[in-house]
């Protein structure tokens, strides 16, 4: 009987093929005159897809650009146009691609309108202003409250719902297409199902050996970010869940023998995902990470589900629990849960010059991990999308010593 099981590598091939077809679909939409919107990686894809809009995320395109080792040139292009090198490297690389009319699969199609998120971070508001001005297209900025702690007051949720409805009105104006509640309900349902399935996959990472590491999960995240609200995201996660369960049943992990289980905090270095391969070669697996579990998925990580019967309310709740919309007390408690429940013995905190939202407050989290769980941390500074910021040799030297320290400490 033919073995039709997929390895992690084969799952990645499925995803890569779909990614290509996704960008081809956006180009085709533009050719055929269907509306194309740029939005940020936190953009409300569920609403946009429900309204017949093709969603294009330059941030995601930047990650592909980084993987293909093209980011440096685009960052430099932006810097030559008064974009400060102190600003976010996603924005610099994305703007550089826009100014150069180029990218890893060619230039992105021009947007018909842009949806930014003022409440998420500084670049999520201001980068899109520059883009909208460049293409001379309308810009819509979604706003939201910010809570230091978990508690949601009724007016926080009501405003978030109001902002999503305001966006629906804006999209109607831009496209001439009506908002149809049943379509939106279906997209939110699909998004909820994708998140719930993703949560099950994350749960399986608790097994020793971990069946999927951070390298695999950051790839999986593509569907949660760009395809939330589409059937394809549900199908993909169901496939991954099935394969991951099977791996757990057979006792197969990223590593046959785990020397150290790690917790990783911040965005990955998109231009150097090989750091995870190197960690694996040292017997270390990133069993849990902040990026795939707490940012988009925060509401679900905290135990929430789309069960209010009101698609606007469900989506509003997802938004209110993005890591970008909550304060350090929530971030800290999530890090503690992730490190403890996934059995991590050490932590790597990437102090990311390109992302203050995720990086400020890391020392408090490191302290809490050590004081409450006895977990020691290593930290390094770089930028997620600018390869000029990182030296692999030095990193290997320092992390190698840290891993030895962790192993010695366990003896």
């Amino acid at each position: 009987m033919k073995d039709d099981r997929l390895s992690n590598r084969e799952i990645a091939q499925v995803r890569k093929a779909y990614t290509k077809s996704y960008y081809a679909r956006i180009r085709q939409a533009k050719k055929e005159g269907r509306p194309v919107a740029y939005t940020t990686a936190l953009g409300p894809t569920e609403l946009l897809y429900a309204m017949g809009v093709d969603v294009c995320m330059p941030e995601n395109y930047v990650t592909i650009c980084c993987a293909k080792q093209m980011a440096k040139g685009f960052c430099e292009e932006a810097e030559s146009r008064s974009i400060s090198p102190d600003l976010c490297s996603y924005a610099r690389c994305g703007l550089g691609m826009m100014y150069s009319m180029d990218g890893p699969m060619g230039a992105l199609p021009e947007p018909d309108f842009i949806v930014g998120v003022v409440s998420a971070c500084d670049p999520h508001a201001k980068w899109w202003e520059l883009t909208a001005r460049h293409y001379n297209v309308p810009l819509f900025l979604i706003d939201s409250s910010y809570r230091l702690r978990r508690k949601v007051e009724p007016h926080h949720e009501a405003w978030m719902i109001s902002e999503l409805k305001r966006l629906a009105g804006f999209v109607e104006e831009q496209t001439g297409l009506p908002f149809v509640e049943d379509d939106f309900r279906e997209c939110v349902r699909l998004s909820g199902e994708a998140h719930a399935t993703f949560a099950e996959i994350q749960e399986l990472r608790k097994h020793i050996p971990a069946p999927r590491g951070m390298r695999e999960m950051v790839g999986d995240l593509f569907y949660l970010i760009t395809q939330a609200g589409r059937r394809e995201s549900v199908d993909y996660y169901r496939m991954v869940l099935k394969e991951t369960r099977e791996r757990v049943r057979r006792g197969e992990g990223v590593l046959d023998e785990e020397r150290v289980r790690l917790y990783f905090h911040n965005i990955p270095l998109w231009f150097n995902l090989q750091i995870f391969d190197w960690l694996a070669a040292q017997g270390a697996v990133v069993a849990m990470d902040f990026y795939t579990n707490h940012v988009w998925h925060g509401f679900f990580f905290d135990g929430g589900r789309f069960d209010s019967e009101d698609p606007f309310r469900d989506l509003a709740r997802k938004w209110l629990f993005f890591d970008n919309h909550v304060g350090l007390p929530v971030k800290l408690s999530r890090s503690l849960i992730s490190a403890r429940e996934w059995g991590c013995q050490g932590a790597i905190f990437f102090s990311n010059r390109s992302c203050k939202v995720y990086s400020i407050g890391q020392p408090e989290q490191m302290r809490a991990l050590e004081q409450e769980l006895g977990i020691r941390s290593f930290t390094f500074e770089a930028e997620m999308a600018d390869p000029r910021s990182f030296s692999m040799d030095r990193w290997k030297e320092h992390v190698g010593m840290f891993l030895d320290f962790l192993v010695d400490a366990r003896r």
Partner: protein
Amino acid sequence: MQTDFRNVLKERHKWGLQHQENGGLVMGCYSAMVPEELMWSCGVLPIQFLMSPGTYGESQAYLPPYTCDCSKSILEEYLDGTYRYLDGLMVSHVCETIRGLAGILSVRWPERFVHVFTAPACNDLGARRYIRAELMSLAEKLQSLGAAPMSPERLEEAISLYNTNRELINEIYHFRGQNPGAVEPEQVLSAVMSAGIMPRPQHNRMLRELLKTIHKGPERAGTRIILAGLLFEIELAEGNNLFSILRESNALVVWDDLASGMRYRLERVEGSKGDDPLDRLVESFMGPQPAPLRSPAERKAGQLLKAVREYGGEGVIFLIPKYCDPILFEIPTLIPILKENDVPSLCLEVSGSLSEGQMRVRVEAFMEMLSGSSADSIWA
């Protein structure tokens, strides 16, 4: 003798401590986009954080090196006990660093009141309802700290008091714009910054005294410039370089668009007596906001060009604190728009790495360029 607001800045904790001795609460604030009128009406004195000169020590263990000096200064003074007397902290969402700082403080001092206030970027019914509910919720939280309950009468009085303050500051700005040189830019900026650390009744009295003493003198020759960006009060202290270099370069500041200047929520809270004061306050918080993060850069460009026309501005100097992302993001939009309108500009990094000599060379070069009146920009 002219009232010197720089002396007020030298004793920046005096007013808060006095207010507390008289039984009031004191709230440390960052950005004017917090409901100061509401706080005052409940017996709470909002005081804006000022930046302390000096090196930063312990704060560097908590904040990454790529954050602004301002956030480090606030944290440093929390850690060394300078702000021990505060009853709480309220910051407005004007950048991600300040939100992050609020998070650190809420973890380090969980027993203290820490709040992030969001003034909406938009202006619609949903935002209006949100702000109304937020202000009411905030009043309850202040009351639980020991503040007086919110009352329409007291809120009305507070709005009136703050409006008077805004009118007086606007009067100084207008007078200075018409008569550059009649009052030094440090005085004007110190006056605005002082508003953030002392009770408005006393501040209004001092502003009136200042207005009595400034007179239209013989017109001073010089190049009329506008300052924009962000400037911390340490640049106003004696011995600091920026303003002396400007004077020596024959620059006359006629207007500013600084967070510690004209962006200090200086527009009146509209409406008249008899209207619900809470509704009036809500309306004043509708977007877009003065802060760059919550306002399109093109709007800012329009305000700068308006000031150029009204006060005969010949160039704009942007003062950009190191790692201030919202301002850095505006520059690529503002400079071309100014250039299209024949307004030259200079970008200066302040409170960071720029030494006196470097600053002098750049300012002098810019002034020489202005005398040749070509619309260009210099990034320093």
